[in-house]
């Protein structure tokens, strides 16, 4: 039954670990839980043994899960509390390795040289077997030493954690200190006493270990809960930021809109009031009134145009993909940025292939992507001396369309997977928002193309965009 409980806990945490690989605690727990299950099974076999040889055989197998149990707990303490002396951990695992190796090279097992008789005694309402007359091996002190050191190690780690940390670390120290030290040390000590023949009881560690497993399980689930809360918080912040960005953009838009519309409205109102004043005062010269009315009409039309422009602007939310020669769009964009590039001392070398097919693109959106790539490249090269600030823009044929590449000689990409630069809110610039490349990627995706980044062999980065040829994507 104990074995079953241990296995169930182990499987649950193992699944949690598979789900959330960043929490190494789950894997360690899996090892410990399976080890406890193994201990339980071998103990049961020992209790049911009928001959000294059978009992001794199961003692030998008992050492295998015990090794994993102690090693797993050592690892758990280190990973979870972050304290614990490395040399002590190494010594404990080393000693257990010696025990394990010696266990399978000596006869009948590590603990005993000879077992002559089993003792049968009642235990929890059943008659069970334990060691009766036996000769304890002279090297048994190695096993005892490892257990004593293990107790010291856990206690030391818990105390260190208690003294150095805040409330959370103190709680962890207490739970792990009590959960492991008390039960593990008590259970292993019991086993040692049984082996030394000082205690007439069967070897029964499992009930103690279940407490340990429980303590560890509580700790791990708290960790997972904390991690999930942190993730939810991060998601909420991201949403908020996106919302704030939208609101700001809307605020700016409505501000300029208010100005554009209020200006003609103000002119209309003042003209109309002036005309009314003239008519009331009887000073209204018909020509003057005609001029006023003409101005009112033209200002009214102007206000209408503002609304029209705004509607056109808002409508362009979707990409309107039409066949365009790619080189033309590239040249247009470079021309747009010419002043900016000159100001930043960046030279542009273009190498645009002839005979490229037209590609389906929304020129405004595609320009936005290209401008973003060029501006990023300029930012990346800002720290270089002016004569090294060279930007290369290349177009070439690709298997399914056209490839555009922007090479720079700047500070390059961050270490690791270069694709991180496309993540939202990822930025290497001090004042960057980290949305330029992520927007670029969604624009290119809407064009059925792809965009990726590469490190250059001689420093700097290259961004590639591949777009399908117009005829291919239309068919």
């Amino acid at each position: 039954m104990s074995a079953g409980a241990a296995l169930a806990l182990g499987v649950v945490h193992g699944l949690a670990w598979l789900h959330e690989r960043r929490a190494p605690g789950g894997l360690v727990f899996l090892i410990v839980a399976f080890a406890v299950a193994g201990v339980a099974l071998t103990e049961l076999q020992m209790m049911n043994a009928t001959t000294p040889a059978g009992w001794a055989r199961w003692v030998r197998w008992f050492h295998v899960p015990l090794f994993f149990l102690i090693t797993g707990l050592v690892l758990f303490v280190r990973s979870h509390l972050g304290t614990g002396r490395t040399w002590l951990a190494g010594t404990i695992v080393g000693l257990r390795c010696i025990v394990l190796a010696g266990n399978f090279t000596s006869h009948p097992n590590f603990n005993f040289v000879e077992i002559t008789r089993l003792r049968r005694l009642p235990f929890l309402g059943q008659e069970v077997a334990t060691v009766g007359e036996a000769v304890v091996a002279p090297w048994q002190w190695v096993a005892t030493l490892s257990v004593v050191l293990f107790g010291i190690y856990v206690l030391d780690a818990a105390v260190m954690s208690w003294w150095t940390g805040g409330r959370d670390r103190r709680r962890k120290a207490l739970v792990i200190g009590c959960g492991i030290v008390t039960f593990v040390v008590a259970s292993i000590a019991q086993t040692q006493l049984v082996v030394w023949g000082l205690l007439k009881l069967p070897v029964s560690m499992t009930p103690f270990f279940l407490f340990t497993l429980g303590a560890i399980a509580i700790e791990l689930s708290r960790d997972i809960a904390t991690m999930q809360m942190a993730e939810a918080e991060a998601r909420r912040l991201r949403d908020e930021l996106a919302h704030a960005t939208r609101v700001t953009a809307l605020g700016e838009l409505s501000g300029s809109l208010a100005h554009e519309i209020n200006q003609p409205l103000a002119i209309i109102l003042s003209n109309a009031e002036a005309a009314r004043g003239m008519l009331e005062g009887g000073t209204g010269d018909p020509d003057e009134l005609k001029t006023i009315l003409a101005e009112i009409i033209s200002e009214d039309l102007r206000a209408g145009e503002v609304i029209q422009r705004l509607r056109a602007l808002l409508k362009r939310g979707h990409a309107r993909l039409l066949p365009h020669p790619p080189n033309g769009v590239v040249r247009d964009t470079i021309n747009l940025l010419r002043n900016d590039l000159a100001e930043r001392d960046v030279r542009v070398q273009t190498n645009l292939a002839d005979g490229l097919p037209d590609v389906s693109l929304d020129p405004v959106q595609f320009q936005q992507v290209l401008m973003n790539l060029i501006t990023n490249a300029c930012d990346a090269m800002a720290a270089r001396p002016p004569h090294e600030r060279t930007l290369q823009i290349v177009t070439s044929g690709a298997p399914e369309g056209v490839r555009l590449s922007v090479h720079d000689r700047g500070c390059g990409l961050p270490e690791g997977d270069p694709a991180v630069v496309f993540q939202s809110f990822y930025t290497t610039k001090g004042n960057g928002l980290g949305i330029g490349l992520s927007i670029s990627r969604s624009i290119i995706a809407a064009h059925q193309g792809r965009i990726w980044a590469e490190r250059n062999t001689h420093g700097g980065a290259t961004f590639h965009v591949e777009l399908p040829a117009a005829a291919l994507s239309d068919s």
């Binding site: 501000g255 208010a258 100005h259 554009e260 519309i261 209020n262 200006q263 409205l265 103000a266 002119i267 209309i268 109102l269 003042s270 003209n271 009031e273 002036a274 005309a275 004043g277 003239m278 005062g281 000073t283 003057e288 006023i292 101005e295 200002e299």
Partner: protein, 206 residues
């Protein structure tokens, strides 16, 4: 305030706006002078006139708030009525703190504009009077200025003489000069004048 001195300067980058406001204000007897840029206004502005400025906030060359600062820097104390297409609270606060006469949103109703312009012109008149009085005050010698301060604080000649360590006849002599230089017929007028310059109250609290 005489009728020929209701000068209103209009500065707005849109000629249409200037034409409309001119049509509105001119028949009401204002001397309207419109400019499409702040620099043209500065070229045309004559110090010493009783005038106000109706100023657009959003202009390409210098915005209205910046012009307000420049004018202040140049010592041109013309009262300003701001007009804006989209004013927010910080903008209004900034303008009013810097001494704007009013802050109106476009489109502006005739009566609101005229009320604001009249208030600004009245302020300009008061300012001009204060300036004239301040010039007169600067004509006093340091000793006369001391006597003046104590007089308007309500001290008797004897007390003033004792405080300044001199005789009463001297004080009487200074009094006569002060009344002449400040161009006031009576002591009561002198106290009113001091109040306008903000002197009487200040000394009274000492």
């Amino acid at each position: 305030m005489s009728a020929d001195e209701k000068i209103v300067y209009l500065v707005d980058d849109e000629p249409g706006m200037i034409r409309a406001l001119t049509r509105l204000l001119q028949p009401k007897g204002y001397d309207v002078r419109g400019f499409t840029s702040p620099s043209r206004f500065l070229e045309a502005y004559m110090p010493g006139e009783q005038c106000c400025l109706v100023l657009d906030v959003a202009m390409p060359e210098i915005d209205g708030l910046l012009l307000q600062e420049r004018l202040k820097h140049l010592g041109i104390m013309v009262p300003i009525v701001f007009l804006t297409g989209h004013g927010d609270i910080p903008m209004t606060v900034r303008a009013m703190r810097a001494g704007a006469a009013d802050f109106l949103a476009k489109p502006v109703r005739e009566q609101d504009l005229i009320r604001a312009v009249n208030a600004a012109l009245a302020r300009a008149g008061a300012q001009r009077e204060t300036e004239t009085l301040a010039v007169r005050l600067r004509l006093l010698t340091p000793r006369e200025r001391d006597v003046f301060d104590l007089m308007v604080a309500g001290r008797m000649n004897k007390e003033i003489a004792a405080e300044l360590g001199t005789g009463e006849p001297n004080i009487k002599f200074h009094r006569g000069n002060i009344m002449k230089k400040m161009k006031v017929p009576s002591f009561a007028d002198l106290v009113r004048l001091a109040e306008k310059l903000g002197i009487g109250t200040r000394k009274g609290r000492d």
